[in-house]
């Protein structure tokens, strides 16, 4: 019974860490809009934390370049397992319109494994919340496979 409660709690309390790789702030504003009274993601137990050691979800917006790739990898490595990564917006998914720029490596998945991709420029708050739900479904699968 205790094990079942632990597993249920992992799906009920996703704390997210938001990292802006090189975003134009469009996707950041939409991500933070999820926390406002209009969308209120705390309903689902989601809290925006500033500490990778406390986070379960890494939400990344913007393109990756050689400088911030180091920070991104460092943040990911500090997160406890099991962890999920959500790439937000066209830039986070693939590099977007900056894909061919000389300093751009591409999407988030060039540096760390991504679990859910959210397209859009910028991505809508509803789509971001849907991505968290999809991520939690994936986590549920991982937890059940571990058993």
């Amino acid at each position: 019974m205790f094990g079942a409660f632990l597993k249920k709690s992992q799906l009920r309390s996703p704390w997210l860490l938001h990292f802006d790789c090189g975003s134009c702030n469009g996707c950041d504003i939409e991500t933070l809009a999820c926390l406002t009274p209009v969308y209120d993601v705390e309903r689902f137990g989601i809290i925006n934390v500033g500490n990778p050691r406390h986070a379960d979800l890494l939400v990344v917006t913007g393109t990756v370049n050689p400088r911030n790739a180091v920070v991104l990898k460092n943040l990911f490595d500090q997160m406890p397992t099991p962890r999920l990564v959500i790439a937000i917006g066209a830039c986070g998914c693939s590099g977007g319109v900056f894909r061919e720029a000389p300093n751009v490596l591409g999407g988030v998945d060039k540096v760390i494994p991504v679990d859910v991709y959210v397209p859009g420029c910028p991505a809508r708050p509803e789509a971001i919340m849907d991505a968290v739900v999809a991520g939690l479904a994936k986590l549920k699968g991982i937890l059940e496979a571990d058993q």
Binding site: R12, S13, N51, R53
Partner: protein, 282 residues
């Protein structure tokens, strides 16, 4: 046998009540901000989730300090519930609070260390006020045992009017509420990331949370002793104190540690001491 049963009840119920208080806090705060907020049991889900996370500690000493902090917090709750000496409970509680800061000093995060320093400043501010409040309680009740305070007829609040504001200050600091949420940067205050809790993660953070709940229950229980005419009245007194703290949290901006240490703490201490003198003279 009865004492043992009471101590066991305190051991189990203190974290439970503290967790429920944290849940109520989050729901009410959300409602005050026109949000729906998380379920009432969300803090328990958070703790259970943290428990099942896998992460290596920031320092090998941290796990030890976390467990000592939890032991001290639970011991002070059990001692209070069993009607033991108020001063003993106070010092055990203070030891638990200092272990949290010591564990944070072991880590490598500058935010954690700054948070730990602020935690020590907070202790410097509220511990004397809490001590004088307990001395006042003991003087008014005629004995240092918690059971003696419970046996008094009629509410003690009317004998201790000047202690009440000081105790509200203690509650705000202990519950990590604005305007004194300096060490932990709880909730949406994130200028120190998570302050004294920054380096704690996973299972250690879950245990620290449980210790904090037990601490909160003990402080609210001390407040409830001011209206200890029956179990229902005590529960209501604790609830009223909690609601007052939540209201102050939601309507006030934060002060700096200097204001807390140089202005608010001396004022609270002076008021409580004046009440103590009045009790001795009267």
């Amino acid at each position: 046998m009865k004492t043992l049963a009471l101590a066991l009840a305190g051991l189990v119920l203190a974290p439970l009540f503290g967790g429920l208080a944290a849940g109520l806090d989050r729901v009410l705060t959300a409602r005050l901000q026109s949000r729906l907020g998380p379920p009432l049991l969300q803090p328990f889900h958070d703790a259970a989730k943290l428990w099942s996370k896998v992460i290596s500690p920031a320092s090998p000493w941290q796990g030890l300090f976390v467990r000592w902090a939890l032991t001290a917090a639970l011991a002070s709750a059990a001692l209070f519930a069993s009607g033991a000496d108020l001063l003993l409970c106070f010092f055990v509680q203070a030891a638990g609070a200092s272990f949290v800061a010591l564990g944070a000093f072991c880590g490598s995060s500058p935010y954690g260390r700054l948070g730990a320093q602020r935690e020590l400043f907070q202790m410097l501010a509220y511990e004397p006020v809490l001590l004088v409040a307990l001395l006042c309680l003991a003087k008014a009740a005629g004995g240092f045992e918690a059971s003696a305070v419970l046996a008094v007829n009629g509410p003690l609040l009317f004998k201790l009017p000047l202690v009440a504001p000081g105790l509200i200050f203690v509650v705000l600091v202990k519950l990590r509420k604005s305007p004194f949420d300096l060490a932990a940067s709880q909730h949406m205050h994130q200028e120190l990331v998570r302050g004294v809790y920054t380096d704690y993660a996973g299972r250690d953070l879950a245990l620290i949370k449980i210790a904090h709940w037990a601490d909160v229950a003990v402080v609210l229980w001390i407040c409830a002793l001011f209206w200890a005419t029956g179990p229902v009245q005590m529960l209501l007194a604790g609830l009223v104190t909690l609601l007052l703290a939540l209201l102050i949290d939601n309507i006030s901006a934060r002060l700096t540690w200097r204001v807390m240490l140089k202005v608010v703490a001396p004022a609270a201490l002076a008021l409580a001491s004046a009440n103590l003198f009045w009790l001795y003279l009267g």
